[in-house]
């Protein structure tokens, strides 16, 4: 058998929240029995974005903030691949914010995991878009990706999980990947993933997380209700986690970008480009110019 690249041992600090995500990705891929050559992980820039190096699957390391655009390209290039984009809060919510909003709107079927630690860990602890007021002198209001995601009216899957709850995280990743593999659309999962070195929030977050599905009135198909539950939870000083939005059911019409563009899932990467077999079509295009 041909020898190919092997995963390397992780370079993260011991105790890093990202280990929880790494374990959950492995478990979810195993549970769904996805062949590793059909899996592509698009990594961002930052500690978390290196996750592709530690997994036995295809990896492509994107530019800072551009992983979503590359993931859309991979998925549209070959819709039969299972694509996971993974990066941090700086990568996704600062430099990559433009692409972040558009990923929901595009609704291509891939999973985007943001490992949110509320800091720029790799550059040694600067304030990030999600940093609390006062962190490293931060005077800007923290950004909430879940509230933003809920405000975009597209049939996406939206969830927040916590590295301190590996069982729930695995469940949510399995559900997201199933959603993707049924070509239903974009799945966004924010993983609260503490940076033990520059912003160790394990204890604080463990005390504050509130599984939103346990609250009365919870309905993941109802954006407005979930939005209100999130606001109420935040007002109580808690952090809402769980599945935040789950489209009602599989619609008869294609909802995902790749199915709208490539109904038979035969993408540009495997399209027939043979000159002989396409000759008649090319002749027609040429004569359309006459």
């Amino acid at each position: 058998m041909v020898e190919t690249v092997k995963p390397i041992p992780s370079t993260w600090c011991p105790g890093c929240g990202d280990f929880g995500v790494l374990a959950a990705v492995k478990k979810a891929a195993l549970e769904l029995a996805i062949p590793s050559h059909e899996l592509v992980l698009v990594g961002g820039i930052g500690c978390s974005g290196g996750i592709h190096n530690f997994l036995d699957m295809n990896g492509i390391h994107a530019l800072h903030g551009r992983l979503l655009a590359q993931a859309v390209g991979v998925k549209l290039g070959n819709p039969k691949l299972t694509v996971i984009a993974a990066g941090g809060d700086g990568d996704g919510y600062a430099i990559g914010m433009g692409h972040f909003i558009h990923a929901f709107k595009k609704n291509a079927s891939f999973l985007y995991i943001v490992m949110n630690n509320e800091t720029y860990g790799l550059t040694k602890g600067q304030a990030s878009p999600t940093s609390q007021l006062g962190y490293e002198g931060n005077v800007e209001n923290p950004f909430d990706a879940i509230l933003t995601a809920l405000s975009i009216p597209a049939p996406n899957f939206v969830a927040r999980t916590f590295s301190g709850d590996p069982k729930q995280m695995t469940q949510i990743l399995v559900e997201s990947l199933k959603f993707n593999r049924e070509n239903r659309g974009f799945a966004f999962v924010e993983a609260l993933s503490p940076c033990v070195t520059y912003n160790d929030t394990y204890k604080e977050w463990r005390a504050k997380v509130q599984d939103i599905s346990k609250l009365s009135g919870y309905d993941a198909t109802d954006r407005a209700k979930t939005f209100q539950l999130c606001l109420d939870t935040i007002a109580q000083g808690r952090i809402p986690i769980g599945v935040m939005h789950r489209p009602r059911e599989v619609s008869a019409e294609a909802a995902s970008l790749e199915l709208k563009l490539l109904p038979d899932r035969t993408g540009p990467a495997v399209a027939d480009i043979d000159l002989t077999s396409n000759r008649a079509t090319y002749e027609r295009l040429l004569h359309a110019l006459a």
Binding site: N53, I60, A69
Partner: protein, 597 residues
């Protein structure tokens, strides 16, 4: 002045126009300019005339001069028709059609000594002594109901003045408007008749000229943008992402229309950062990809192009140059991105810059760019310019049987089974590595813009770093024999060289003829590869001449600077002929500047 002056050829009467050779003048190279406010339909008139002349076997070159706005502001279009191949605007205009005062003011400067001004007198009167006014909009508004068809009426009047064949004149209208439905077609035909009548009632105008027939039959009339788009499709291009930007947008629009039927995808992205990264993703997935953009978009794509160079992901970027920097002049012509592209990005990585000069080049070099990118695993820039991208020119239908597809060392699952080891960055003699798109059983790989070892593991090992730099940069040397060769146009005994690229091909070819008539034979090197600087062919070319003029549309002589840097032994021979006013060269200007030096 309400009564237009009678032209000097007024002795021709309507009945005898075609039998009055005394003042009958046959044009074998003519130019019609149509000017007005944006929305007046100037482009429609030039399109109709272009279609007519093409069907008479003439070579056509149609250009436009519009402002960056949807309506209003001066806009003009020119159509040139010639028995000989042309790919540039004619120096003077034979017939000027004006829908407003400004069009007369602007067009008059370019009018031939024997030229004629025709204008729509519905809303203004020109006091130009030689201008002929017809109330196109008023009459069309009254009889057809909508004054917007005034442009078709004007086309009708022109058809009489130029002695065009009436049957073909209407057939062209049918061609153009059939798609819009029966009502639109009928109204246009009515308007055509109104315009024809107006001119026929003026005996001195009937058959003022006639237009020679040509023998260039079965030609297509096509813009560079459409030729690039078609070259992309035929070259196996199946994924495109772009962002609307003048003058590149037509590439995207064409591909959005035609790619879906071929399992292809063309997407409008949220910005150029997304567009370049989407094509990087799709290329990595195994598709042949391209984006098209212009200056401001190119600036944003710079980080992505560098990434593709470092991560060895093949991409093609078509840069339809316009006036820069910043927003510059979106609709105007310039060739000022070369210095940026040759040095583009932080760090060092290989990139190729190809420069189509003719419409055939646009088609052919796009296919070649895809082959080079995919085989050599690097970014390839197609350097275009506004005139080449947007002006339409007649061409022989492209030779589809000459197209070739080279996917380089692309591996299948069976190939992988026979190998002992597969890494995305494996060393090879020529610098490019075999690759298996994700999804290929047995072909798992890691791809990254971090420095990496052969297997794609991140590495800062100094020995590895040096080897990887040499692997990537070595491609720039190894690829040279496969790069597009220049087109050479040598006249006997020439010791004067002209060097150009892009749309300057057309005016330079004509300037060569002008200079030949002035007893100055020249030899023209049309560079089709700009970077790496084509020293293997350019060196011998410079050896063969005493002086060489490098013609380009920028202030600093960007290609001249590259040539000086790479062929320093010839620097005394090099002269720059530059133009940076936003307008493209016309042949007499190049000829004059060669003579003056």
């Amino acid at each position: 002045m309400t009564t237009p002056a009678v032209s000097s050829t007024s002795t021709i009467s309507a009945g005898t126009a075609r039998q009055a050779p005394a003042s009958f003048q046959e044009l074998s190279d003519l130019s019609v300019m149509i000017g007005g406010q944006g929305g007046d339909g100037t482009l429609t008139v030039s399109d109709l005339l272009g279609r007519y002349f093409r069907r008479r076997g003439l070579y056509v070159y149609s250009s436009r001069n519009v402002l960056s706005r949807i309506r209003g502001g001066h806009a003009d279009a020119s159509v040139r028709a010639s028995k000989l191949p042309v790919a540039a605007e004619k120096a003077t205009v034979n017939l000027l059609l004006a829908f407003d005062h400004e069009a007369i003011d602007i067009g008059r400067a370019e009018l031939d000594a024997d030229g004629l001004i025709l204008y729509d007198s519905s809303s203004f009167q020109s006091d130009a002594p030689d201008a002929i006014g017809f109330p196109f909009a008023t009459l069309v508004g009254g009889q057809v109901g909508q004054p917007i068809y005034k442009n078709t009426a004007a086309y009708g009047a022109i058809s009489i003045i130029l002695g065009l064949d009436p049957i073909l004149t209407s057939a062209v209208i049918e061609d153009r408007f059939q798609r819009r439905g029966a009502e639109a077609l009928e109204k246009n035909l009515k308007a055509l008749e109104i315009g024809r009548r107006l001119a026929l009632d003026r005996p001195e105008l009937v058959g003022r000229w006639s237009v020679a027939d040509g023998d260039a039959h079965d030609r297509i009339l096509i813009t560079g943008n459409h030729a690039v788009a078609l070259g992309f499709v035929v070259g196996g291009g199946r994924f495109f992402a772009g962002y609307p930007i003048t003058p590149a947008t037509e590439v995207m629009e064409y591909l959005m229309r035609y790619l879906p039927a071929l399992h292809g995808v063309a997407r409008q992205a949220e910005d150029e950062l997304a567009a370049i990264n989407m094509i990087i993703g799709a290329s990595y997935a195994g598709a042949r990809v391209m984006t098209s953009t212009s200056g401001p978009g190119l600036s944003l794509m710079t980080e992505g192009i560098g990434h593709a160079g470092a991560a060895e992901i093949p991409i093609v970027v078509a840069d339809c140059q316009r006036v820069g920097p910043s927003t510059g002049e979106p609709t105007r012509h310039e060739q000022s991105d070369l210095s940026h592209l040759a040095n583009l990005g932080h760090g060092e990585f290989p990139r190729l810059i190809l420069a189509p000069g003719t419409i055939e080049d646009c088609f052919q070099l796009t296919g070649q760019a895809l082959n080079l990118a995919e085989k050599w695993r690097l970014p390839v820039i197609l350097l275009l310019d506004q005139a080449l991208c947007q002006n339409a020119v007649t061409a022989a239908p492209f030779d589809l049987s000459a197209a070739r597809i080279d996917r380089g060392d692309r591996l299948t699952a069976e190939d992988l089974q026979k190998m002992t080891r597969y890494g995305y960055y494996q060393y090879s003699a020529q610098g490019f590595s075999p690759y298996a798109p994700p999804g290929t059983p047995g072909g798992i790989a890691q791809v990254t813009g971090n420095e990496h070892d052969e297997m794609g593991h991140v590495s800062v090992n100094p020995v590895n770093r040096a080897k990887m730099m040499e692997k990537r940069m070595g491609k720039m040397v190894e690829v040279v024999p496969e790069l597009p060769s220049p087109s050479l146009y040598a006249m006997e005994g020439a010791r004067t060289g002209i060097i150009g690229y892009g749309s300057t091909w057309g005016p330079i070819r004509e300037a060569q003829e002008i200079l030949r008539h002035q007893d100055l034979p020249t030899t023209f090197y049309q560079a089709r590869t700009l970077f790496p600087v084509p020293t293997p062919s350019l060196g011998p070319f410079l050896d063969s001449v005493d002086v060489a003029f490098i013609v380009e549309h920028n202030y600093t002589g960007q290609f001249a600077r590259l040539v000086r840097e790479h062929l320093p032994e010839h620097h005394r021979k090099l002269r720059s002929i530059v133009k940076y006013d936003g307008m493209s060269f016309r042949a007499p200007e190049i000829a004059r500047r060669v003579q003056e030096s």
